[in-house]
Amino acid sequence: MTRGLSLFVASVAAVCAAASAGASAARGGTIRGRVVLKEAPKRIERLPSVADLGAPMPPRHGADADRRRSVVYLESAPRGAFELNPPAHAMMDQRNETFVPHVLAITTGTVVDFPNSDRIYHNVFSLSRPARFDLGRYAAGRSKSVRFDQPGIVRVFCDIHSHMNAFILVFSHPFFAVTDEDGRYHIDNVPPGTYSVVAWNEGVSSEPRPVAVTDGGAADLDFTVR
């Protein structure tokens, strides 16, 4: 297994070369399947620290469910895919000292809003290479935004609440999907062709797997991660 970030740098360049001959962009096929997590992320025996004092106990239901969501994406995208990207807006909320959603997948050029829906101050910053930013601390009810122009994986943190973290996966093409809590996904409108597909969960990627997409057809592809 390899880390997703490095894969991404290489994959972006490969997207055009691997694209299949001009298919209909409007229709295309579907890739669907399930990402099975071999094992749940290990719990760390940790000592209570001062950082725990402000933590909500117990955490909001669904935080664990969020962590079971994976992202499945085409390692190589068909030619001309980029022109289809519409300028988009996404949102990563901050509620109960948690980033919601925990995993956000966007295309390049997307502006992500980080509203503070808590009653306390929050901060959003990242040191990840595709997007280094620090929105500073801001009060409840306010919101700040970041535009992500580089593809890659960006991990965001809150410098006030050390346990808060979230992943934003920035793709240069639209052929990706976030699974549901059970790992099911489907990627629609994939131009016919042969692709290699990767599943990613919490910083861990699967081996790329090849899939042939036919026009109007549906290819089943299951993954096992970790």
Binding site: R3, L5, A40, P41, K42, R43, I44, E45, R46, L47, S49, V50, A51, D52, A55, P59, A63, D64, R67, F125, S126, L127, S128, R129, R155, F157, C158, D159, I160, H161, S162, H163, M164, N165, E202, G203
Partner: protein
């Protein structure tokens, strides 16, 4: 031992020894107790210091652990580690290192690769990252380890860096290290006032003592409890404390150790002052005790000396009226000495009384015997004189008869006169006039005088040439000696009737002189008839005689004279073989006293 034969010496020695023993024992006990107490205090201080060092170390470790946790929990570090980008992490690590002033700060990613190092070279960081501590931290457990460095022991707290609450995501590890080096040892020394050393694997890595002491200290690393070590001129009490609990060290015997050292030499220096003080006190006390013992011994024996002086005086002078007078004004009257003195006074009184009674009796007895002798001795001549006078009255007296009667009367008168002289010689106390004479010459003179007295055996002279001059009254002693020689010659003459001498050729009468220790001896020996055993004890009694015509005063007079000169006279006789009279005269020095 002659020293112990004196009561005063015995008392003095006993008191002095007793005093010395008591003082010595007391000083010894005090010394032992003080030394023990000092040792115990030193041990207590060591244990207290060890507890202090332990507590400081624990506090320090806890502080570092907390510090490491805080840094590991800081979102910037987490974000940096998550990038897996060494320059990014290095920036953050530098910032934190400056804040906490840690000696060492190492960050690894989730597979244990070093992302940032502060305070150590890259190879060192790799070595540290390969320690089990990092693997444990990646498994989510904090760990505490100690690693030897050239200039000390590094105390390393390794904590996981993770993010999230329920199912945290392990990002990497953070190790924060603090050196146990000379600087820290110096700080601990300021707090604990003890020397501190840190060592590991049988090697001293840092200490407050100079580097030359390291080999000696290294031997203490594996010891348990208190031990002692000689470093240079000073002896140190050492206590080794493991820096890691057995759990942390994994049961290693060569684990890191803190040595707590205290200079016994310095700590126990005050003991030397006490020892010196005690010795000085002991010396002074023994001196005083000796002087006091001497004084006490003297107070005991001084009355005895006074009594002895008087006794000696009495013995020398025969003055029984001398009394021992113990000063009544004395500060410490001695009842025992007074009793002794009183008893002695009573004794001399009694002796004086007995002497008076005896002399009274003797006088009466002598008077009785004198009366008998005089009656007999004087009556005989008187009878002869009366008979002669009766013959003179007879008519027809021839001239021859007249001459014979006159001669008889004359002879008897002379005899009477001699008796009166002898009685006077014996009874009249004649003062002794001493002069120093040559004894041998004196003896020759006496022998000649004796031979002139009448015919008989010759006196053989056997005179020792080395006889010293003697201090005698020559006139009086001549009377005694001539008397003895005359007796001897008469005894030999009396024998002639009984038969020849048993050893023909041997001298019949011998006058011998000899020197002996403390005086001289004159012996008059004869081969005469001897004296019966029954009479031998009485020969010196006045008026005892076995010879017809003797007054029995000759030997009594001789004895009086010899004893008057401070000497003694003794007789030894074998009947039928001879008699020997022996006169012992004291040397002039003794005679004078």
């Amino acid at each position: 031992m002659t020293i112990l034969s004196s009561l005063r010496n015995r008392i003095f020695l006993a008191s002095a020894l007793l005093a010395m023993l008591c003082i010595g024992l007391a000083i010894f006990v005090v010394n032992v107790r003080v030394t023990q107490e000092a040792e115990r205090t030193l041990e207590r201080e060591m244990v207290a210091t060890a507890a202090l060092v332990d507590s400081l170390r624990t506090t320090r470790t806890e502080t570092f652990t907390q510090m490491a946790r805080f840094i590991a929990d800081a979102p910037p570090l987490k974000a940096a580690v998550d990038t897996n980008d060494p320059p990014t992490v290095q920036d953050v690590a530098d910032g934190y290192q400056q804040q906490v002033k840690a000696n060492l700060l190492i960050v690894t990613n989730r597979v244990g690769r070093v992302l940032a190092t502060v305070g150590a070279s890259a190879p060192t960081a790799e070595i540290i990252a390969s320690q089990p501590a990092v693997r444990r931290a990646l498994a989510g457990r904090e760990s505490y380890s100690l690693l030897p460095q050239p200039d000390g022991v590094i105390q390393l707290v390794t904590v996981p860096v993770f993010v999230g609450l329920r199912q945290p995501d392990m990002l990497g590890t953070l190790s924060v290290g603090f050196m146990l080096d000379n600087a820290l040892a110096g700080q601990l020394k300021q707090i604990t006032l003890s020397d501190i050393a840190f060592g590991m694997n049988g090697q001293i890595l840092a200490a407050t003592l100079p580097r030359t002491a390291y080999p000696a200290l290294a031997g203490l690393l594996s010891t348990k409890g208190l031990s002692r070590v000689q470093i240079g001129a000073a002896e140190y009490e050492a206590l080794s404390r493991p820096l890691s609990t057995p759990l942390e060290a994994g049961g290693e015997a060569s684990g890191p150790v803190a040595l707590i050292l205290r200079s016994r030499t310095e700590q126990l220096r005050f003991l030397e002052a006490i020892h010196a003080g005690l010795v000085a006190t002991a010396l002074v006390a023994v001196l005083l005790a000796t002087l006091l013992s001497f004084g006490v011994a003297r107070t005991v024996t001084r009355p005895l000396a006074a009594i002895t002086d008087v006794m000696r005086d009495v013995a020398a002078t025969g003055d029984l009226t001398r009394k021992i007078a113990l000063g009544s004004g004395r500060r410490w009257p001695d009842a025992d000495a007074r009793l002794l003195a009183d008893t002695f006074n009573t004794l001399t009184d009694s002796i004086a009384r007995f002497q008076r009674e005896i002399s009274q009796k003797e006088r009466l007895s002598s008077l009785g015997r004198l009366s008998t002798v005089i009656a007999h001795e004087i009556r005989n001549p008187l009878m002869i004189i009366k008979a002669s006078l009766h013959g003179l009255r007879r008519p027809g007296l021839t001239a021859a008869e007249l001459g014979e009667a006159v001669a008889d009367i004359d002879e008897e008168v002379a005899r009477l006169n001699r008796i009166v002289n002898e009685v006077l010689d014996f009874a009249r106390p004649v003062p002794i006039r001493r002069s120093t004479v040559d004894l041998n010459a004196f003896c020759r003179e006496c022998a000649a005088a004796s031979e002139r007295g009448g015919a008989g055996a010759a006196v053989h002279l056997d005179l020792a040439p080395d006889v010293p001059p003697v201090s005698i009254d020559p006139d009086r002693l001549r009377i005694a000696l001539v008397n003895l020689l005359t007796n001897a010659r008469q005894a030999v003459a009396a024998r002639n009737g009984d038969g020849p001498a048993p050893e023909p050729g041997a001298p019949l009468v011998t006058l011998r002189t000899a020197a002996r220790p403390g005086g001289t001896t004159i012996v008059v020996a004869d081969r005469g008839v001897g004296i019966d055993r029954a009479n031998e004890a009485r020969v010196f009694d006045p008026f005892f005689t076995t010879r017809p015509g003797g007054t029995g005063l000759g030997l009594a007079i001789a004895k009086t004279i010899v004893e008057g000169l401070g000497g003694t006279i003794a007789v030894a006789s074998v009947p039928g073989r001879g008699t020997e009279f022996r006169i012992d005269l004291p040397s002039p020095g003794r005679a004078a006293s």
